[in-house]
């Protein structure tokens, strides 16, 4: 039990931190700046604990906690690390962001911590209803964060769209769980696996239907085609740090649980390969096409998030169910998180009051005024585009390698084609920043140095992650 608790320590720290922050925020003297430092501290501590358990406690890969409802594996630890790091950076960049945008209260940071708790649970959950509850914890917290700027109708619209469609997708999840429960008699992954091993997938249509509906919810959260439409609007409506948080931590959690779910049984995964194949291809291409036409940076990044979901789906298609380590997925998520979060962190101090700078054109000539920020953004963009020597390239390389190794050559090639297509809109921002004359001075100083520092650290991460060797 102590061992169990030790493994759950990061979750407990984050959860407790969230509650403490929530309570603390009732005191008037507890400013949102303090809350920012507090939540960053909570995330940092949790991150370090997680890291130490990653390094030291090489527990059995599938050590069960709490009756098989939660399972801690190396994969979930890695995903947890990413989530916690994202949380920490989000907290810090939010502090900078809210220096200039005046709608924060300390609960904001409490909610980021709650969301992180939900995400951590999601990475570990091995039981459908727990997955659902974790999903909802995460989602509800994020809904609130999205709509945090209550005075802003855009923000409210975003939360409406997200909440409505999220709840809609959640309903499918519940229905799917019910069907799986009907077939297997249990909602625990272990039991489902045993049932599938005994009966085989094809002989259980209910199982197929249930898994199908469950995947719908995952695909929705991951913004895969055709469940992608919300993502552009919601990212656009949310404030920059929240968008960054959503784009990275949430996606990490979703793909972690998605992978965990898919690898319950080889037959389960195999059944969906064709579907996921088409979905990932369509996701990549539709995402790209949406991204091409965008003028707003956030919307472009949202659409590019769709594309990256497509790449991750390739990894899911190619993932081996035996000896699942999820290293490729985790690596890609880490690489993607570092670069995406980096951009949003940079935007959080470059965006101006009320996010006045939205479009590509607004960032023209940034390189002259803010060379380091522009360089950092360029590096993040190149990483997202998959140009070496950044982490994004290695992530893409691993995904392609695993896809080809799994015999999915067509998928790999389509992934490549997609990343060719995506090159334009990443380069577009670099071109705007570097090759155009400035239309304004960008002379307002960064409201605080936290976000710039985070940006710098994330640049280092982008390169450092690329050097970290993993096994496919």
């Amino acid at each position: 039990m102590t061992n169990d608790l030790m493994l759950l320590m990061p979750l407990i720290i984050v959860g407790a931190g969230a509650i403490l922050l929530m309570i603390a925020s009732t005191y008037d003297k507890f400013t949102h700046e303090l809350a920012a430092y507090g939540s960053a501290g909570v995330f940092a501590v949790a991150f370090l604990v997680q890291l130490s358990s990653c390094i030291a406690g090489n527990v059995a890969p599938f050590s069960e906690v709490f009756n098989g409802i939660l399972v801690v594996s190396n994969f979930s630890k890695a995903a947890g690390l990413i989530i916690l790091a994202c949380g920490c950076f989000t907290a810090l960049s939010s502090q900078t962001y809210f220096r200039r945008n005046n709608f924060c209260s300390p609960e904001y940071y409490s909610l980021t911590a709650f969301a992180a708790a939900g995400m951590l649970l999601l990475t570990m959950a091995q039981e459908l209803i727990s997955v659902f509850i974790a999903l909802e914890i995460m989602s509800l917290a994020i809904y609130i964060l999205v709509g945090y700027d209550r005075k802003n109708v855009i923000s409210t619209e975003a939360v409406l769209k997200y909440l409505m469609l999220g709840a809609f997708a959640g309903a499918f999840f519940v229905m799917g769980s019910a069907l799986v429960y009907g077939a297997a008699g249990s909602t625990k992954f272990v039991k489902i696996g045993q049932y599938l091993a005994a009966n085989g997938m094809l002989h259980s249509p209910v199982m197929i239907g249930g898994a199908f509906f469950i995947m719908v919810a995952f695909l929705f959260k991951a913004a895969a085609f055709p469940f992608h439409a919300w993502v552009v609007d919601v990212y656009d409506g949310a404030s920059v740090p929240v968008t960054g948080y959503m784009a990275t931590a949430l996606k990490t959690a979703i793909f972690a649980v998605f992978a965990n779910f898919l690898v319950i049984d080889g037959a389960l995964q195999h059944k969906w390969i064709t579907f996921l194949f088409y979905i990932s291809v369509l996701t990549m291409f539709v995402g790209n096409l949406i991204a091409i036409g965008q003028q707003s940076l956030k919307r472009m990044l949202a659409a590019s998030g769709i594309v990256h979901s497509g790449y991750l789906l390739i990894a899911l298609v190619a993932v081996g169910t035996k000896d699942f380590t999820g290293s490729v997925i985790a690596f890609y998520l880490a690489a993607y998180a570092a670069s995406t979060l980096g951009i949003f962190t940079a935007l959080s101090y470059l965006g101006g009051t009320g996010e006045a700078r939205k479009t590509f054109d607004d960032f023209k000539g940034l390189a002259k005024a803010r060379p380091y920020s522009a360089a950092a953004i360029s590096i993040f963009l190149l990483s997202m585009a998959g140009i070496p020597p950044t982490a994004g390239f290695m992530g893409k390389f691993y995904i392609i390698t695993s896809a080809i190794d799994a015999g999915q050559i067509t998928l790999a090639v389509l992934g490549i084609v997609s990343s060719i297509i995506s090159m334009w809109y990443y380069l577009r921002l670099i071109i705007a920043m570097y090759f155009h004359e400035a239309s304004e001075q960008f002379d307002e100083p960064a409201p605080s140095s936290l976000a710039p520092v985070c940006t710098f650290i994330l640049v280092l991460c982008v390169f450092a992650i690329s050097l970290y060797p993993i096994a496919v």
């Binding site: 360089a375 190149l382 998959g386 140009i387 070496p388 020597p389 390239f393 893409k396 390389f397 392609i400 390698t401 080809i404 190794d405 799994a406 015999g407 050559i409 790999a412 090639v413 490549i416 990343s419 060719i420 090159m423 334009w424 380069l427 071109i431 570097y434 090759f435 050097l467 060797p469 993993i470 096994a471 496919v472």
Partner: protein
């Protein structure tokens, strides 16, 4: 000679470039740093050259495992083929700092970056490492072109970048395919270049992978009909970039063909060689003809460069040792001659503020040294015997005749086509009456003159006494043709075939 000399050659410029970028260094500091670093690299390269044994195999090997689970390592080494491209870069790049003294910091920093990356691409002995450097070398070009290029630079920048990246990403897929095939056939992961020759690749996917490589290299070279990015990019780019693109980067495309396509896809290559050879020849003629229609001397040189690259590529596709060796020799010859020509074009542009041929005239009278240097480089470019250009071109045509008579005869027309536009341009720019634009054309300064002198001498020495150079190249090229046979002998055919099929059916 110390152990990690290649790493130093690669990373010294890269580090210097990054440091320059990251610090608010002044222009002159940047220029001086660039000059110092590139000269240091030159010294190291000369040392390397002196120590090169010409065994035909990789020398100065460094190998540090990186991603062991996939057999990826930080592996470097040079053989006779890569050595000369490396040398071309090391010898030529210091010139830029002599010639252009008043550019911005980023100009010099990017130049350093691209120098390191190109050295890396040439020295890499691991495919992934190669790919990394291959992509990295595009980035400085992107920035230099976009930041310091001519008025129409943006479309040109986009075109070259997207075009090249499209090609290289396809190559990435092909590289991964090779690695996976190696894993399937030999049971271990490896991305080492020299091991790939042992692969037995058949079937549709192999052909696709072959084209994955070929298209990437064809774009970089550029081979007809993938050359359309070239005129704009070469014309709009700042001179140093054009110089780098034409003198060295294009050659790395050819190098890639020699390194990857020829040994690994020997079957596919033999099958498509005639097609590719025609692409080379047609490209040569097409670009050569287009060159005559140019009014802008830089664009004319761009087409000229593309035309010559067609011949060089042809040499690789002819599959005999004379043509291949000729190609490599021509790579160096063309790097020196075209590189110098582009630098001179830059000087012309800078001192006359025009790129239009018709605006100029009579420069030979104003600047005899400049004209002499230009003429020597031009004559090397048209392949006059006694200059470096002849040896390679002759061997390529010779080899092409052996390969296919029609191709050979067409390849020979480069003798005529090249001379037409070059003389035409030379006549208008250097001869005739002095035009108003060139009235005050300043002769090369003493420093510039001395800086170019070694290269000009090299052009002549390489034409008159090429034997020492060739004797370092030939062992490696000979090995290229020896390899397929030995592999066939080593690998049990049936076994390999089965494994080859499994990967396809998966």
């Amino acid at each position: 000679m110390f152990e990690h000399v290649l790493s130093v050659i690669i990373f010294l410029p890269i580090l210097a470039g990054l440091i320059l970028l990251a610090t608010p260094a002044s222009r002159s500091v940047a220029r001086f740093t660039g000059l110092a670093v590139s000269l240091a690299t030159l010294v190291l390269s000369l040392d390397l050259y002196a120590g090169f044994q010409a065994t035909g195999h990789l020398e100065f090997v460094e190998n540090i495992p990186w991603i062991e689970s996939l057999g990826i390592s930080y592996a470097l080494g040079v053989d006779g083929i890569s050595l000369f491209i490396l040398m071309a870069g090391s010898v030529l790049l210091p010139l830029v700092y002599f010639v252009f003294g008043t550019r911005e910091k980023g100009y010099y920093a990017n130049l350093l970056l691209v120098q390191g990356a190109m050295a890396g691409a040439v020295c890499a002995a691991d495919m992934i490492l190669f790919y990394i450097f291959w992509e990295v070398m595009l980035l400085p070009v992107f920035f230099m072109l976009g930041l310091y290029g001519g008025p129409q630079r943006l479309p040109a920048t986009l075109k070259i970048t997207l075009y090249t990246i499209a090609g290289s990403l396809l190559m990435l897929a092909a590289i991964v395919y090779l690695g996976v095939s190696y894993h399937a056939q030999f049971g271990e992961w490896s991305f080492a270049m020299d091991k790939m020759a042992a692969l037995n690749l058949t079937g549709r996917v192999a052909a696709v992978a072959f084209f994955g490589f070929m298209i990437a290299f064809a774009i970089k070279i550029p081979l007809f009909p993938f050359h359309t990015w070239l005129p704009d990019a070469y014309t709009e780019a700042p001179t140093a970039t054009t110089f780098v693109l034409s003198a060295i980067m294009a050659k790395i495309g050819v190098y890639g063909v020699i390194r990857f396509v020829v040994p690994v896809f020997d079957l596919e290559f033999a099958r498509f060689a005639i097609l590719l050879a025609y692409a080379g020849v047609i490209g040569m003629m097409y670009c050569g003809l287009a060159a005559i229609a140019q009014k802008d001397f830089k664009r004319m040189l761009a087409f000229s460069s593309a035309s010559h690259m067609g011949v060089i590529a042809l040499g690789v596709f002819c599959m005999n040792i004379q043509a291949l060796t000729g190609s490599i020799y021509q790579i160096v010859a063309h790097a020196t001659s075209t590189g110098v020509l582009f630098l001179f074009a830059g000087i012309l542009e800078e001192r006359t503020n025009t790129r239009t041929i018709d605006d100029l005239g009579g420069i030979a009278a104003k600047a005899p040294v400049f004209a002499l240097y230009f003429a020597i480089a031009m004559l090397a470019s048209v392949g006059l015997p006694g200059t470096s250009g002849f040896i390679g071109e002759f061997m390529i045509v010779l080899g092409a005749i052996k390969f296919n008579t029609a191709v050979g005869v067409l390849a020979g027309t480069t003798l005529i086509i090249g001379v037409c536009y070059m003389l035409w341009m030379f006549q208008r720019v250097f001869f005739e009456k002095t035009a108003s634009r060139s009235e005050n054309f300043k002769e090369l300064s003493l420093v510039e003159g001395l800086a170019f002198l070694p290269v000009i001498l090299l052009i002549i020495v390489m034409g008159i006494y090429p034997h020492p150079f060739l004797s370092k190249i030939t062992p490696s090229t000979a090995l290229q043709f020896a390899q397929p046979a030995s592999v066939v002998a080593q690998a049990p055919a049936s076994n390999a075939q089965n494994l080859g099929l499994t990967i396809e059916q998966k």
